[in-house]
Symmetry: D2
Subunit: 332 residues, 4 copies
């Protein structure tokens, strides 16, 4: 249950309510927000007086629920915004991993050239084998910061585990929590204490319910800036790397209040399908796309098969604009 | 392996080759086509003289393979066509089941009004329970024929099992083989002997490889008019009825030569997601959509949750035209 | 809802009830059984007088439900029986396909030698490619009949589609409906009119609910002799061919009244795992096992990788007896 | 590739080899072990002299591979052992979560009574909702330590994220890495530096390949004491909580050298299936079982539906002994 308590209620009452109802307490300019387990269905008598408004839920999708807040939340990232009534579809482009200054500079220039605001690249790679390339770590993060400074781009990179979450929060404009880390409460709770925009990827074996509940870990900590990212789920089909779940995206758009971004590159796993899927995603009216692009995909140190080259990316971005326009949105 | 044998080769040689190579034999105006198991990788010496051209394959996706025929096959349905270089995206609309003459007439009028050429509705319903509504059977088929006569529409209905496949072939403009019947060789082989367009749906537990191989049963019988239909696969996610596999569609577009149609209604299972998904499918550049629409969805005898009403359908079709245009296609 | 109506009720009343309640009507020695859609929750007033007993259900698992009949149904196959209070675990052994008289005779002798009562082998193969070996068809069926005559074995083979269901019912002791045919109402309804034992395999993409409802098609036709067979479902894991669902078996044992048989060979897809899985299945207390065994597995015309050889089969059967004994069952 | 280098090789040569080949270096009494990426297929000429033995692999399952070490590794836990040639099947019992001293004492007494050596209970619960019971944390760990002291039991608990991994390593006899944490390199690498036995659970969306590669993170750090635990994967079937993958267990037994333990409680999600599944697992010849048992399951603070009560556990353990004996193993 979510309760909005009056600003002028005694501090002691609010604290007692939070304790007694086993609730998270978020302080807003207009009211106090208490979030209790969803099993609670009625405002207890002793707190009725200080309760301005209350919301009941079937399950633990509460702060993220469309039944709590109908309109998609607006998230501000540097000087751009998505969600709210912006009708923006943000493109996030860049290589799978930072590999060298030359490589990431080439990517940053491409984004700048096409008016794309946000550069992505992995530094702490959550590889499934200890014997693969593990990323440049902090060195990669420093290179990304340099790109921001040099080209005025927003930067986003992924947190692999909670041992370096503070570094990533400190350096990036959007913190990415990847598919393998999205149940990690060490990361989720830490991100909940920050106010950085968080791009939360759905695990490939994660139900929509669990996915939204992972967002609740962040939201209940007081960070409103959560963006959901669908990146393909694991199914019996193996001709493609994963299965992009657009039915799930329709569900998220209907039942949550969070912006949704899609990652067709990881879902497909092969570059040939990325342009078609990207156009499909834009036509669904989502808030953004994450696309892997590499100066020389064949020699990439990770995910070589799915990254597109710079010319394909240029043509793709060009083709997305009329599709966006057809559904009343703008590519940024 | 596929071999094209010369028209003027001795009949006895061709028959012997077919027998000896365990091959399907299809007679074309320009040549004889022999299709052997894909394990054969070289034209046997004794047939080299009569072989005009030959094609080797990694697996049993042969006649359907893009490596055999690069361009998507054109399929003519009454006075319309899809595939080839038509750039048409065909809408097939109508209720889940024929329920009454009044109901199906209302649907037929809607298609006519919007310039939609093809009316769908089930007569032989492949329900999973013996205690549910099983469809009107032949009576439904007669009503569909009446709609064709009265409104000049193409009609399509589903074959449930091979006991009534001849009736459906005789009456419809497109024969639908549903997700549960797509391994049924009684149906597949019979459809291979016909020349009617066949809309073959992917089973919800069927790999892309098996799906295309089911099409090979029809193609190897000599019927070129096969349309593939992706309608959602079964995954761990249960908030939506199925998971529409657009990565799989990207695969089919890349590796096969068959037109592809999508069924967002069955994939989603809920009407709220159908418009968004339909726009996504059109933006992918597919050859058509199958959309369930009912005069009064709430009282439908089957699949009540996923059928949209007439006004929603009107608005949806209107919104599809600019999306189609943005990707160089025309809604018909 | 299931109603038991009195034997001495007027025939007209029973017929009217069946018609009015949209019910299947099965005549039993002790009473008439009417099975209505499960949506009916109360005996209509006008039939209360003739109703001896009634059973209400949450869903369309009715005749098969443990809440209708607590004890597992007994199924008699020739001179053996499973289910009921027999505590028998029946082994069904034999090759994937009948390939030749020599081959199937070798298999039949092996069963005879080990005291195994039932010989399996496919004649009408539901292959996923038209270019693979499709089975010997009727010729194979004749060879199986010869084995029965010569060695006194029960025989079982699979129906591929409804074009030859009558042949299989006429010739075998158990009719197998395979994973790809289990939604085929042409087959299911025809088997419901017979009294032959039917071994119904679960589709690899089929939920337990749908699986049991497929059995309802047979049971509601009046054939009580249905055996369920779990043979592996399709999941994201591809190191093994399928995933044997023993949790599902636990569900079937708890919530249905039908005997359950398992097929570890198809689930595993590789011979190395078959013995361990077979022992696991027997320890679960199931009613039987279907095991593929071939005189020379490496040269088998279908499913070569998963068939075990005769010596492995001998050792396996020997190892199953103490496991069966440990859980109070007997291998037959 | 794995190389065994001679003990008397110059230290500088070994260090250079490790650096040059991008290898993990493990010091063994008999030789140095270098583990390179599996892409390396031949011992470089300059290291041939110091190489005693080398092993080539198809993929990054290396230290865990049966082709490296045929026999299952022995893991010693306190005064008991599994794997090797012990033929022991270890039972790990206890509640889902530590809830109170009274509750965990009751569980500990039950283990003691039945001669079960290891007590399990969660302290840091990786719940999917922030609004559920999150476990007693360090307080729970202290209670488990008390049980060890009082009853002489081994104790095992789960690490949720890397913020408290050191506490769990310090306190327990087996460190459990749960299904949601098994990609967490912060945890995996830290456990690789320890010598504590690690029970690594398979993620519910994790392939067998990825699962074994997660073990490689620990093994390559120098910790040999890794136990794999299959606990059910997520499939389309929802009547049971997960699907216990015994085909996968057959694969792990064939292709790896690590002991395997099963968790039927989490797989099933309902107590009714736990005894049957437990017997099946024991008959497969696995190295252990993890079973959830609670003094009063109905009032459990987490996973109430799947925990069995004490009497059911007593009867279950009793029934496992003859099954174990039938397959040549001993329950400990």
């Amino acid at each position: 249950m979510i309760l909005h308590l009056a600003k002028d209620a005694p501090q002691a009452t609010i604290e007692q309510a939070a304790r007694e109802l086993d609730a998270f307490h978020i302080v807003k300019p207009e009211y106090h927000v208490l979030v209790t387990p969803s099993a609670l269905k009625e405002v207890p008598a002793q707190y009725k007086d200080v309760t301005l408004e209350s919301f009941v839920f079937d399950n633990d999708m509460q702060l993220a629920a469309a039944s709590y807040m109908k309109e998609t939340r607006q998230v501000d990232i540097g000087n751009i915004s998505i969600g709210g009534n912006t009708h923006n579809t943000m493109i996030i482009g860049g290589p799978c991993s930072v590999e060298s200054e030359e490589q990431i500079t080439s990517s940053a220039k491409l984004m700048k050239e096409l008016g794309i605001s946000t550069l992505r690249a992995g530094c702490f790679k959550p590889r499934t084998s200890p014997y693969s390339f593990q990323g440049l770590g902090l060195e990669g993060l420093r290179l990304l910061e340099k790109m921001r400074e040099q080209f005025g781009l927003n930067i986003i990179t992924e947190v692999r585990d909670s041992t370096h979450v503070d570094d990533v929060i400190a350096s990036t404009d959007i913190v990415q929590i990847g598919a393998k880390a999205m149940y990690d409460q060490g990361i989720l709770r830490r991100c909940g204490q920050s106010h950085k925009p968080i791009l939360l990827k759905r695990g490939f074996g994660t139900t929509l319910q669990e996915f939204v509940q992972a967002a609740e870990f962040i939201l209940s900590g007081g960070n409103d800036n959560v963006i959901l990212c669908e990146r393909g789920i694991r199914t019996f089909e193996t001709k493609t790397r994963f299965t992009l779940d657009l039915c799930g995206v329709a569900y998220l758009k209907e039942y949550t209040n969070l912006p949704v971004i899609l990652d067709p590159s990881h879902a497909m796993g092969y570059r040939y399908g990325v342009p078609d899927l990207s156009r499909a995603c834009v036509a669904m009216g989502v808030d953004g796309l994450l696309i892997e692009v590499h100066p020389t995909p064949a020699s990439a140190l990770s995910d070589a098969a799915q990254q597109i080259d710079h010319d394909t990316f240029r043509a793709l971005v060009e083709s997305l604009r009329p599709v966006a326009q057809a559904v009343g949105r703008t590519i940024i």
